[in-house]
């Protein structure tokens, strides 16, 4: 089976825009979570979000087009452009449009438009509807606008799989490469945090709030009480290893294996099963770093810890683990941004910290990194957990054959 490697990354995140600014933010332990000023949060219990700050779409997209694009589409276009540039790929020049594909995970892109459109229906009635809004209510708008902007004509799809949305997209992208349906795949995740989505999370009582210790994203902290909604885009360029070697470009890392689970089994069991499945399929003996899915929700973090302890009983207290959602917040497709972080960690040998880890939860018992840690990282276990039923891990390794 062909190995799939990552040759480019593009990131728009709450801690920084662009690969270098993002990396700087991560290793500094920059908190991307702020009091929300972009919309009114007075009706809500939660007040904070991990919004992207200082994003200037004009740097990436012609002015006339910008107005017609929702925020998720703008993020997707900008991050895809950065990733392709990083991979030294120009569509048409380095790859024919039909052999380049885009498989994007999209978390609630278009929801702001859907809300605005439906508000018009309810308040003004059917006589006065805005036809510009409707086409941009579909989740595939971001991938489609990106394909139009970049001239990508190969396999084109959008997936949503709860909090494992980006991971599911990466798996789909790898599969299209292995089936030789394309030579280059743009993949990853994009999230847009709209007021209506924030309202929804708040109404479902899933988000962090100030119960006396401040409103924080505090994975594995004893006083965690929910996640902080976030947004951004983490885009990667995937190629078959042989093609990347032929092009003689930088290889950030290799997708070594995937493992997925669903169904109604006990969550801790599923976490354990996917980890052991990924290790077996990846032929891996060691893991150098665990990119945790912990998002500060009381149950999810506990489930992850339980699964890790079950499958790596002797080792999990030695393997460094960091929960990047402490800085980035949670978006259902934020696995894309975390994967971009994984690849930079492999390249640069520094593990970013978990912030807000103040009152360790005794039941977790993991080696949580709280200060930037220099370490030679060859293999990363990337966790994806969605408590409503999807469990997915990706084993990412260095692309240089060291591991």
């Amino acid at each position: 089976m062909d190995a799939v490697v990552v040759t480019g990354i593009g990131v728009i995140s709450p801690v920084g825009i662009g690969k270098e600014e993002f990396w700087k933010g991560l290793i500094e332990g920059r908190d991307g979570i702020k009091e929300i000023a972009a919309f009114d949060t007075t009706p809500f219990r939660s007040k904070k979000g991990a919004l992207v700050k200082g994003f200037n779409p004009k740097a990436f997209i012609p002015l006339l087009k910008i107005r017609r694009l929702d925020r998720a589409s703008q993020f997707a276009i900008a991050a895809s452009r950065m990733a392709l540039e990083d991979a030294c790929i120009t569509i048409r020049k380095d790859v024919t449009p039909e052999r380049a594909g885009i498989i994007l995970g999209c978390g609630f892109g278009g929801v702001a438009n859907a809300e605005a459109f439906h508000r018009g229906q309810v308040l003004r009635g059917p006589g006065d509807l805005n036809p510009i809004l409707f086409p941009n209510t579909v989740p595939n708008a971001a991938a489609s606008h990106t394909s139009i902007d970049l001239g990508i004509k190969g396999p084109n799809s959008t997936v949503v799989q709860s909090f494992c949305t980006a991971e599911a997209a990466v798996l789909f992208g790898c599969q299209q490469l292995r089936a030789h349906k394309a030579d280059v795949i743009v993949t990853g995740g994009v999230d847009e945090l709209s007021p209506i989505l924030y309202r929804g999370w708040d109404a479902l009582r899933l988000t962090a709030w100030d119960a006396g210790d401040g409103e924080r994203s505090a994975p594995y902290d004893l006083k965690r009480n929910g996640f902080v909604p976030g947004e951004g885009a983490g885009i990667m360029i995937l190629e078959r290893e042989a093609d990347a070697l032929r092009r003689n470009v930088r290889i950030y890392g290799k997708i070594r294996s995937f493992s997925t689970a669903g169904g109604a089994a006990y969550p801790g069991d599923k976490v354990a099963r996917i980890i052991s499945g990924a290790l077996k399929r990846g032929g891996m003996e060691t893991i150098d770093f665990i990119d945790s899915a912990a998002n500060s929700s009381p149950l999810l973090d506990a489930v992850e810890a339980e699964g890790l302890k079950r499958v790596l009983p002797d080792r999990c207290c030695d393997i460094p683990l960091s929960a990047l959602k402490s800085m980035l917040g949670e978006g259902i497709a934020s696995g894309g941004v975390r994967m971009a972080a994984d690849l930079l960690i492999l390249e640069r040998g520094v593990i970013p910290p978990t912030i807000n880890y103040e009152y360790p939860d005794p039941c977790c018992g993991l080696r949580i990194v709280t200060e930037g840690l220099h370490a030679s990282v060859k293999t990363i276990l990337h966790m994806g957990i969605s408590l409503d039923g999807t469990y997915m891990v990706i084993l990412v390794g260095r692309g240089d054959g060291v591991s």
Binding site: R119, P126, F134, P135, H145, N156, T158, L171, A261
Partner: protein, 409 residues
């Protein structure tokens, strides 16, 4: 082509061993089959919500539907209309495949459009009216909700993905499901999709002025747009060897597929049909067959002026003179455009047509026009079909073509 065929022979073959469906013209596979044979139209006045102010009041709504026949009250609180349809179709498909849960690794891949929009609309309407709506109405809003409930209900442990490319979602879900089997990620995949009517999609298509004020008439000269539909279709995919080994009934094989992007416009298709023709050609190449081997095209055929024209042009580009001998029909003329479920519904229709030796008609088609001058099968027709090509084209230029063949051809 010979090389493609050789490659094809080496690839693991994926077959369909179970199907389930619920839509306006049938609550089971048997009812749906009968309606397809008769060319029965399910497009009527909408009663699910008030659409009196819109230019159209028609859709293929599932009528006389009582969810309590299928679910208890407690379960229903967590399920939106689309989730219910998906679970009903999945139950039929799983029973039809007689899987017996024989230890295989089973995954789920569904396509959805608006998902739990109908429930979210109730929430939103109450909110705008100053009330305090029940938050759990929002739970089904995440598009992957139906796939999660399906996997949970039947303890399906394998890979799970929800495709959200509007009108091509469930066709892509079938293609991807097959690839997950070929790649060894799963032994069995439960694929397909679901859609429920909602005010948003209804008003949305009206705002784009692509809704026919009358029941839709695909390819007809008098067509004015589409009619929406709803329902769910679920297909059970597995490796051919596995299916033969357990003596399963095989409806057909997924011979090939293509999913591509037009990279042209967010709503309009590329108007000469070149892009759609490219997608169909790629699917033919993937299947390792020549165009003339196709016996029937199950068209996207929405009934909009532009779609039917462009799809016809694309067919003419690929088949040239042969296009006039090729039967083409749109089941959307009967079940409406089921958006996220459309590709699945049409896959079931294609496989039933193959198995029962007939071509579903384009109901209501009377007279084509200058461009739409092919054989759109206005009346039901008996025919031997060995290979069907089914098109699904979506907003954003997301095009998917599936090709099914008889497994013993």
């Amino acid at each position: 082509l010979i090389r493609e065929r050789e490659m094809k022979d080496k690839k693991k073959k994926v077959v369909i061993t179970g199907m389930g469906i619920i839509c306006a013209t049938g609550g089971t596979k048997g009812e749906f089959l009968a309606s397809l044979r008769d060319g029965r139209q399910g497009i009527r006045g909408v009663t699910l919500f008030d659409c009196s102010g819109y230019p159209s009041q028609f859709a293929a709504q599932i009528e006389e539907y009582d969810p309590l026949v299928f679910f208890d009250k407690r379960e229903l609180r967590r399920l939106s209309r689309v989730d219910q349809f998906v679970l009903i179709a999945a139950q039929e498909a799983l029973a039809d495949a007689e899987l017996n849960r024989d230890g295989g690794h089973t995954g789920v891949c569904l396509g959805v459009g608006a998902g739990g929009m109908l429930s979210a609309e109730i929430y939103h309407r109450q909110l705008l009216g100053g009330k305090r709506p029940r938050p759990s109405l929002l739970l089904p809003f995440v598009p992957s909700y139906a796939a999660d409930r399906l996997a949970e209900r039947y303890h399906l442990q394998g890979p799970k993905t929800t495709i959200t490319t509007a009108c091509s979602s469930s066709a892509t879900a079938i293609a991807y499901g097959a690839e997950l089997i070929r790649g060894g990620e799963a032994d069995v995949m439960v694929c397909g999709g679901g859609e429920a009517l909602s005010e948003l999609t209804f008003g949305g298509f009206c705002s784009l002025k692509v809704m026919d004020p009358l029941p839709c008439r695909p390819f007809d000269a008098r067509r004015q747009g589409l009619s929406l539909g709803e329902g769910a279709a679920v297909l059970i995919l597995e490796g051919k060897e596995r299916a033969m080994g357990r003596g399963a009934r095989i409806y057909g094989e997924l011979l090939g597929y293509s999913l591509g992007g037009e990279a042209f416009h967010i709503t309009a298709p590329e108007e000469t049909g070149t892009e759609e023709a490219r997608i169909m050609r790629e699917a033919l190449r993937d299947a390792g067959i020549r165009p003339e081997e196709v016996d029937y095209i199950n068209a996207h055929g929405t009934g909009t002026i532009l779609n039917d024209q462009v799809e016809t042009l694309a067919i003419k580009e690929v088949w040239r003179k042969e296009a006039y001998q090729l039967p083409i029909s749109s089941v959307k003329s009967m079940v409406g455009h089921c958006l996220g479920a459309a590709g699945g519904v049409e896959a079931v229709a294609s496989l039933l047509a193959m198995r029962h030796h007939f071509i579903p008609p384009t109901a209501g088609f009377e007279q084509g026009d200058e461009i739409c001058d092919l054989d759109y099968v206005p009346q039901k027709r008996e025919a031997e079909i060995e290979i069907v090509l089914s098109n699904s084209f979506a907003f954003g230029g997301n095009c998917t073509t599936l090709i099914f063949g008889k497994e013993d051809r």
